[in-house]
């Protein structure tokens, strides 16, 4: 195994956990400690990435956070800062702005079967001089060979790395193995994985990815991310170091990072509770957990009933308003019967 890239998404995915309320003061403290730990890649931004701040998904408490962090980003040359960009939420002008603020990795993401929506965005970001990765979200929703074709498209648009996201925490280690084999048989660029812990499998899936040729893994301190959370940085470092891999990252320092999260956000630390396991099993986007609780309560229906129905209609990320329509339909039906 070659030494993987540890791509830290805590300050992005974690914002799902605290309703997009990271402050610039917290972020700068986090970045400083991350630097001491030896991390080289940090993602910033709203939980759904650039342009995600909205009534539909959740407004960022501080929309100007990047502006406050700008000096910080530009003086920290050893760390590359990235951002998640979903066409449909962000537009080109938004990309230009963050590049001027010092973001150097643009991770252009689409639903796994819709890679052709990323073509113009990948080109645009590459023309801005960025390193551009192509991300396939909700990758449990299509077969591995189909996923590989979509990855190949992103490569042809100019992506320099592909990452497949288990956005629902729905994959198993053997599924991850198949996906890695299929994708790596068609692309010439490196591959990475992003996991969620709904089925308690973020760690097992990430290890499977590493032993099947992936060379980057997304990590979160204390697993702090959407829904049941993500792969915990400190766990993967501990395991790799114990297995004799020199990760280049200090275990003692990442424990301080995890402590930072624990002390600031004791109320929103991720848990693998029954609802998380259910959304994982039925394949729903991890960021939907809170919306499901809120909407099921509003319409007085059972959470699990809503989860199953949303799974049946193949809801993808970004469709928060569909949770409302489906709940409204279910409650109408119940009232009639």
């Amino acid at each position: 195994m070659n030494l993987p890239i540890f791509y830290d998404v805590t300050l992005r995915d974690g914002s799902h956990a605290n309703n997009h309320s990271f402050t610039s003061q917290f972020c700068s403290q986090y970045i400083e400690q991350a630097y001491k730990s030896g991390l080289k890649f940090i993602e910033l931004g709203h939980g759904n990435g650039l342009g995600g701040s909205s009534l539909q998904i959740g407004k960022s408490k501080d929309p100007y956070i990047l502006r406050s962090l700008e000096k910080y980003i530009n003086s920290n040359k050893d760390i590359k800062f990235g951002m998640h960009v979903i066409p449909g939420l962000a537009k080109f002008a938004d990309i230009k702005k963050i590049v001027n603020q010092g973001i150097s990795i643009i991770r252009v993401a689409s639903h796994c079967s819709e890679a052709d929506t990323t073509e113009t965005y990948i080109e645009y970001a590459a023309n801005c001089g960025c390193e551009v990765w192509g991300l396939l979200m909700m990758s449990h929703m299509i077969k591995p060979d189909h996923l590989a074709k979509e990855a190949e498209k992103m490569q042809s648009y100019g992506a320099s790395r592909i990452v497949f996201l288990d956005s629902a925490g729905s994959l198993t280690p053997s599924m991850v193995e198949k996906i890695c084999i299929e994708i790596l048989s068609v692309i010439k660029i490196p591959l990475g994985i992003h996991t969620h812990n709904n089925l308690n499998a973020a760690l097992a899936n990430s290890l499977s990815a590493l032993s099947n040729g992936c060379s980057s893994i997304d990590v979160c301190s204390r697993g702090y991310g959407a829904g049941a959370g993500n792969l915990s940085l400190e766990s993967i470092i501990a395991i790799l170091e114990k297995d004799g891999v020199d990760t280049g990252i200090s275990f003692d320092e990442v424990i301080k990072l995890a402590n930072l999260i624990q002390s600031y956000f004791p109320q929103s630390l991720p848990q693998v509770d029954s609802l998380s396991v259910s959304t994982g099993f039925y394949g729903l986007f991890s960021g939907y957990k809170k919306k499901i609780i809120e909407v099921a309560k509003e319409y007085n229906i059972e959470e699990i009933q809503l989860v199953k129905k949303l799974g049946e209609i193949d809801i993808i990320a970004g469709q928060e308003d569909q949770i409302i329509s489906t709940a409204s339909e279910l409650s109408n039906k119940e009232q009639k019967s």
């Binding site: 909205s54 539909q56 449909g88 073509e119 113009t120 909407v295 993808i316 409302i324 329509s325």
Partner: protein, 283 residues
């Protein structure tokens, strides 16, 4: 009087519009133009007895049976040059691409103003479905200064040009909403869903609850503007007229297609094409 129309761009929008035009007695489609004879759209048109070409707008301007109107259903990057050619040849152009170049037209709001222009932009499917409602909400709540529009369309109905135009789509739709409603801050989101069976086009309009001062009047106004839009888009269906969830309030609609080219899920093709037909009939 019969209106002579040439349709440029034989993709999803172009084909659905062709089917709709052929049902109208007062419209004659003089040409359906693409750039490749193998395109599915050109074969469809030819089987329907419509003159076709693979030489794009160049063939249209050489027609003896000169059109009054060219409908540009290609991709945003080509629109400016198509407009210039049309202008030189004194042909009015209706733009279905989100090129943000001609006057933004939502028939329920500004039809009379638009038909005086030589380049009429039909904004987008999300724009056509949301603008009458945004307008209604603003009319009842003068201080409203933020609105958000989220549309979801089926993957099956989103052609390659649509997928390449997403950033243009957001820009054009946000600008049109601002200009046609006077709301200062607008955010537009678009989702493309691969669900099977395909999802019906849906648009949700969100505002901050505290900005809705006149709740009952807002409801009445939304109904009024929806009825006005239904005069030319029969498939518009209000699913939720107005409902508050804590700090946010939403209005939600679906557009049911008439099944001309795709099945009824393709409300996105339906609404922009019905809006364009409304313009054509009023020219």
């Amino acid at each position: 009087m019969t209106k002579k129309v040439a349709i440029l761009g034989p993709g999803n929008i172009g084909c659905d519009l062709l089917c709709k035009c052929l049902k109208e007695e007062e419209i004659e489609v003089v040409m359906f133009a693409g750039r490749n004879y193998n395109s599915k759209g050109l074969r469809l048109a030819s089987s329907l007895g419509v003159p076709i070409t693979d030489r794009s707008i160049d063939a249209i301007i050489k027609l003896k049976n000169k059109p009054d109107i060219i409908v540009d259903a290609t991709s945003a990057i080509y629109h400016k040059s198509h407009y210039e050619v049309a202008k030189k040849n004194k042909i009015l152009i209706i733009d279905m691409t989100p090129a943000n170049y001609g006057i933004s037209c939502c028939p329920a709001i500004n039809l009379t103003e638009c038909i005086k222009e030589d380049n009429i932009n039909m904004i987008s499917c999300g724009g056509q479905s949301s603008i009458p409602i945004c307008y209604a909400i603003k009319a009842s709540n003068a201080d409203l200064d933020y609105i958000e529009v989220v549309s979801t369309i089926s993957s099956a109905s989103a052609g390659l040009a649509t997928r390449r135009n997403i950033s243009n789509y957001i820009n054009t739709t946000e600008n049109a909403i601002m200009n046609l409603t006077g709301i200062k801050n607008v955010k537009v989101i678009i989702n493309i869903s691969p669900a099977i069976p395909p999802i019906r086009m849906k648009t949700s309009i969100f505002v901050e609850t505290q900005q809705i001062i006149n709740y009952q009047e807002t409801i009445a106004n939304i109904k009024l503007m929806s009825d006005k839009t239904r005069e030319y888009v029969k498939g518009l269906k209000n699913i939720i007229i107005l409902k508050s969830f804590g700090e946010k309030t939403l209005s939600q609609i679906e557009i049911i297609g008439s099944g001309d080219y795709f099945e009824e899920y393709a409300g996105n093709l339906e609404i922009i094409n019905c809006a364009a037909l409304k313009v054509i009939k009023n020219l």
